[in-house]
Each structure stands twice: as structure tokens, then as C-alpha cells.
């Protein structure tokens, strides 16, 4: 039997003799591998972006919205009839066993002034529960406390965008800003969170105690009114239970009869985002599958060229057989040629895939993530393609009759 280094040398020489043909054959694999990597990178990038949004939004999240008003048979949109209060929020937190934390929210837009700088931004009145519900953290300072809420103290937390717009590189802690002309002391800055799925800047917000917002900033139609309540369930599995418990509790608190409709709505945000993430993953698989087809076509290209090569080199095969090449010697030689083609094509394809993904995210602004798994997958698949599509031509070559092969013109 012939040894592997010699087989490799013979195969490399054969491929070098037909440089253009070898390069074109490889091109099929290069495009296939490159396409698989780019497609997986785009898909993985999309689902990772969604996953990041889920984690910045906070996990296991429910949102309670006030119900819709009906005026003379005309139903207004959800939230038009304020019905939720800080009391509701407190009751949900205390009485629903599946709920970990709540954050009542009363928000509005206001002009904020510090010195010569001013900035229009969203102001959110809430409780210390907000940070826990949304899994947020502070980059500086301290959060406000239950005591601050109880006493309606005029303190605030700044989002990163607000802080940068008002203070630049100055340290905002302990400074006084004015929101709707009411002075507030900055006690903390939130860590950057990026954008929401709908493109809102989550860092462009100021947080104040909900009581302060109710009394000093925004008018309320009735005492303790809040716009929405965010709820964090204990676990993913507790989300449906929490939804049910909240429904029951609020119907009771709002004195809604058995046949009446709710004056509030509970939405499962986490579930919605997870659905989006799921569909992104399915899309990744789909893109990968489509790209794999081109890899398959590349493999068929290899087989085609190897079959031509076997026919062209029939005489060479005859000579090799005459001087003692055995069935496996011939088979190995053509197999190795096919594998070299797909291997080099695979390496080049990986490089093109990686740089292609980078260029795509630069030009189109799509987030792309190149996972090592995708590279291994594409590379391994291209190797398999070489073995699979190389086998038939090699098999055919090895079964030639030596005397026929020698006489072949």
C-alpha cells in the first residue's frame, strides 16, 4: 500500500496541473461554505439582538394596562380610562404569590433644565421596585427608597442619555435639576440599556418617586392614579399563574361583576419577545438550510470534475495499475484529490464567510454573530461533501480494467 504523504504529493500535483479547473471547482465549495457562515451569522445576530432586548427589558415580565372607555357605544383605545392606582400595585405585590415585584408607572414628557442646558425627555414616576422588575442597575449613586416614595421626596435618577445631555462629562450626583420648574436632586445614574425593539432610547428617561410625580409633576384624575403597572413573576413557569392571580385580585378590587368586562388588561411581554426570538431562530435555520443547498451544489461540482478527471487520466490509471497500484491505492488517490479540493475550498470559504459577515454588518448595519459552531459546521460539512462526492469517481477509477485503461486513447 502507498503511504499518505506520497498520496498527498501525487494529488497536489494532479490538482496543480489543472490550476484553473481546480480553482473553479473549489469556488463552488467556497461559495457554499461562505454562504452558510454568512447566513448563520446574520440569523444568529438577529436572534441575539432580540435576546439582548429581552434581557434589557427585564425577564418574566407582565404589564397591567388600564382598560378602554366606552363613550356612547364608541370604544376608545386601551389605557384611555385610567383605572389603576399605586394601591393596586401594592396589593398585587402583597397578595399574588406568583409575583415577585411590581413597579407602578406614571409617566409624561417634561422639559428638564440644568444651568444653561435643557432637554425634553420622558419622566417616569415609579417605586424602587422598578429596578428589580426590569433587572436594571445603577452606574453611579443610589436608588430612591420606599421612604422617599412615602414622603414624595424630590429626588431623581437619570438615564445615561439625559445625564450626558445635561451634564456632559460632569458628575451629576448631588446636583439640582428642574423638572417642570420643580427642583429635584440627582441621586443616581442608571447603567446604559440601549434601545427597545421599537427603537426607543431606554436611556432617555428620568425616574422620580411615583408620589412626587403624582403630586408635583402630572395631574391625576383621582388620588394614587398610575398609568401602568409592571409586574415581575417569580419564574417563567409562574407567568400564567401570576396573570390569573392579578386578574382575580384586580376584578375584586375594582368591584367588577361576574358578567362585566375588565377595566384593565394584563399582557405577557416576555412571552411576546420569546416568540420573536423563536421565529428569529427558525429564520436562522432556514437561511442556513438554503445556504447548505449551495454547498451541496458545490459538492456535485467536485464530483463532476473528478469524473472528468478520471476519464481524462484513464491511461495514467492504467500505467499505475500495470506497475502494481492496488484497488485502494487508486481509490485513495482520487478521494484525496476530492478532499483536498473541498478542504481548501472550506478554508477559503470560512475566511470569505467571516469577512463577508463583517462587511455586511458594516454596510447594511445588520448585527452579525459568527459562532464557532457555524464555522465547524460549515467546515465539517464541506469535508463530508468532499468524501461523499469524491467516492463515486474514485470507486469508478479503481474498478477499471488495467488492460483497457492502458489501451485507452
Amino acid at each position: 500500500m502507498i503511504n499518505l504523504p506520497s498520496t498527498l504529493r501525487i494529488s497536489f500535483r494532479a490538482l496543480r496541473v489543472n490550476k484553473t479547473r481546480s480553482a473553479l471547482t473549489m469556488l463552488g465549495v467556497i461559495i457554499g461554505v461562505g454562504a452558510v457562515i454568512i447566513m448563520l451569522a446574520v440569523g444568529t445576530g438577529a436572534s441575539r439582538q432580540i435576546a439582548e432586548q429581552i434581557s434589557s427589558m427585564g425577564s418574566n415580565l407582565l404589564i397591567i394596562l388600564p382598560g378602554a372607555t366606552t363613550a356612547g357605544g364608541v370604544r376608545m383605545g386601551s389605557g384611555t380610562q385610567p383605572s389603576l392606582t399605586t394601591g393596586d400595585a401594592e396589593a398585587v405585590r402583597k397578595e399574588c404569590p406568583a409575583v415577585r415585584d411590581v413597579a407602578p408607572i406614571l409617566s409624561g414628557v417634561a422639559q428638564i433644565v440644568y444651568g444653561h442646558e435643557n432637554w425634553s425627555t420622558g419622566v417616569v414616576g415609579t417605586t424602587p421596585g422598578m429596578l428589580r422588575v426590569r433587572d436594571w442597575s445603577l452606574s453611579a449613586g443610589r436608588p430612591f427608597t420606599e421612604q422617599d416614595v412615602k414622603s414624595a421626596v424630590k429626588v431623581c435618577l437619570l438615564g445615561k442619555t439625559v445625564s450626558e445631555n445635561l451634564f456632559g462629562y460632569m458628575d451629576p450626583l448631588g446636583r439640582m435639576i428642574r423638572i417642570k420648574k420643580v427642583p429635584f436632586m440627582v441621586i443616581g445614574v442608571l447603567a446604559a440599556k440601549g434601545q427597545t425593539p421599537t427603537g426607543q432610547d431606554q436611556d432617555d428617561t428620568v425616574y422620580v418617586p411615583v408620589t412626587t410625580a403624582q403630586k408635583k409633576l402630572f395631574g391625576t384624575t383621582f388620588p394614587g392614579m398610575v398609568r401602568i403597572i409592571m409586574v415581575k413573576a417569580k419564574n417563567r413557569e409562574d407567568l400564567p399563574a401570576a396573570e390569573k392571580q392579578i386578574n382575580e385580585l384586580l376584578r375584586q378590587r375594582h368591584r367588577i361583576g361576574p358578567k362585566q368586562e375588565n377595566d384593565f388588561t394584563v399582557r405577557n411581554l416576555t412571552q411576546m419577545m420569546e416568540t420573536a426570538e423563536q421565529s428569529a431562530k427558525v429564520m436562522t435555520l432556514l437561511l442556513g438550510a438554503i445556504a447548505s443547498v449551495s454547498l451541496l451544489v458545490g459538492g456535485i461540482g467536485i464530483m463532476n470534475i473528478m469524473l472528468v478527471s478520471v476519464t481524462e487520466r484513464t491511461r495514467e490509471i492504467g500505467i499505475r495499475m500495470a506497475v502494481g497500484a492496488k484497488t485502494w491505492d487508486i481509490r485513495m488517490q482520487f478521494m484525496v484529490e476530492a478532499i483536498i479540493l473541498s478542504f481548501i475550498g472550506g478554508v477559503a470559504g470560512v475566511m470569505i464567510g467571516i469577512s463577508g459577515s463583517k462587511i455586511l454588518s458594516m454596510l447594511a448595519g445588520w448585527p452579525t454573530v459568527i459562532s464557532p459552531l457555524a464555522i465547524i459546521l460549515a467546515f465539517g460539512f464541506s469535508g463530508l461533501v468532499g468524501v461523499f462526492f469524491g467516492f463515486y469517481p474514485a470507486y469508478k477509477a479503481s474498478l477499471l480494467d488495467p488492460i483497457d485503461a492502458l489501451r485507452y486513447e
Binding site: 500500500m1 503511504n3 500535483r13 495514467e316 502494481g324 485502494w328 488495467p402
Partner: protein, 230 residues
């Protein structure tokens, strides 16, 4: 001692619906160290017979013993092993690998014998030297004359120390002077290394180098004469 023993060898080719009787029961014995010329017109079956002797082809019927081994019992790869170690081929058309140096062409039989590269190179260089091609090791076949190419083929045939060399019209493509040079190599190999040489030829002056002439006609041996080497 018989190195080759053919008993009632027949070979029938099927060409479409017609059976062609290429060999009609040939029995021959060739001893070790003989120098045999096989002659006959085209289609007489001499080439078919040579291919069977060289284990490139299998007889339809009959028995062929090579060094007392029944070749009919061997499978494809065992036959390849016989061709590798027992038989050296020299063809009319040289049959060298194109775009491959003389040295690597000569290395081929050793390559398939699994010899390490360094040893292969040394033996191949020695074999080329013995046929007078020293200094041409790295020439490709298309850079060599016909005579030189045939010398490379002879070096390839003897590099594995095969006891038998089968030459199918080895001088068919060469001019008279070069033919004589090539024949001298065969004579020398036969005389000095006791290699059994069997060659097919049309030409009487080439056959004259041998000591035994076997004539074929229509698939049969019609004469088998021993003669003095001229």
C-alpha cells in the same frame, strides 16, 4: 527451471454478437533466464498472450503458472502485487506518466510497494544510472528523446528487481540506431542479471537478439525455435 508455464490458454473476446478467438489453446514453458522473441502478424494473438503473461489480462480458459503459482487463483490486488514485484513492463508507447520527472516515474513501482521516499529516490537514481540516464533524473518525458524515454521505462521495469521483463514492441517507435542501443540493454540485463526477457516484435533483426523465437498465427503457436544469439 520453468518460470512461466502456460497450459492450454484460450482467450475469447466478445465483440458485439461475435466471439473472437484470440488464443486457441496455447501451451508454452519458458525457463528462468531465457531471452524469447514472440513474433507474428497483427491479430495473431501474440499481444493477448503477453498481456496474460503480464497478469494484465486473464485467460478465458487454461492455466498459467508463474514461478509455480497458479495465477488463476489470485484476486485483483494479488495480481497487482505480482505485476509490482515479478514483472517489469516495457511498452511500445513508453507509457510514462506525463508531467512527472524521470526519477518519479521510476519510483512508481516502489511507491506501490510502500517503500519510504528516501530509499525510493536512491534506488530510482541507481536504476536510471544503470540505463545510462545519469543527470536526467529531473527531466520530464516531453524533455527526453524516444530512446531516452524507453530507457526510463526500462529503469522502471527493473527497479523492483522483477525476474521477468515483458517488452511489447519496445523498439516500434524508435530508429534503427536507438533500437540497437535499447536491445543492447536487454541483452546485458539478460546476460548479467539473469532476467528472463520476453519481447514481442515484428522485425527479424530485433528478434535476432533473442535465443528463442516463438511464432504466433491465428491464436496458435506455429513454431518455437531456439537459435544462437547474434
Amino acid at each position: 527451471m520453468a518460470i512461466i508455464e502456460a497450459q492450454e490458454i484460450t482467450k475469447i473476446y466478445r465483440l458485439g454478437d461475435v466471439d473472437v478467438n484470440a488464443l486457441g489453446g496455447v501451451s508454452l514453458t519458458i525457463g528462468k533466464g531465457e531471452f524469447v522473441a514472440v513474433m507474428g502478424p497483427s491479430g495473431s494473438g501474440k499481444s493477448t498472450f503477453m498481456n496474460i503473461l503480464g497478469c494484465l489480462d486473464q485467460p478465458t480458459d487454461g492455466k498459467y503458472f508463474l514461478e509455480h503459482m497458479n495465477v488463476g487463483d489470485l484476486d485483483r490486488d494479488e495480481l497487482a502485487g505480482i505485476r509490482n514485484k515479478k514483472i517489469g513492463f516495457v511498452f511500445q508507447g513508453f507509457n510514462l506518466l506525463p508531467r512527472t520527472s524521470a526519477l518519479e516515474n521510476v519510483e512508481l513501482p516502489m511507491l506501490y510497494d510502500g517503500m519510504p521516499a528516501r530509499e525510493r529516490r536512491e534506488h530510482a537514481a541507481d536504476a536510471l544510472k544503470s540505463v545510462g540516464l545519469e543527470g536526467r533524473e529531473n527531466h520530464h518525458p516531453n524533455q527526453l528523446s524516444g530512446g531516452q524515454q524507453q530507457r526510463v521505462a526500462i529503469a522502471r521495469a527493473l527497479v523492483n528487481h522483477a525476474p521477468i521483463i515483458l517488452a511489447d514492441e519496445p523498439t516500434g517507435n524508435l530508429d534503427t540506431r536507438t533500437s540497437a542501443e535499447i536491445m543492447e540493454i536487454f541483452v546485458k540485463l539478460n546476460a548479467e542479471s539473469n532476467i528472463t526477457v520476453i519481447l514481442v516484435t515484428h522485425e527479424a533483426d530485433i528478434a535476432a537478439y533473442s535465443r528463442r523465437i516463438i511464432r504466433f498465427l491465428d491464436g496458435h503457436v506455429i513454431s518455437d525455435m531456439r537459435q544462437e544469439q547474434s
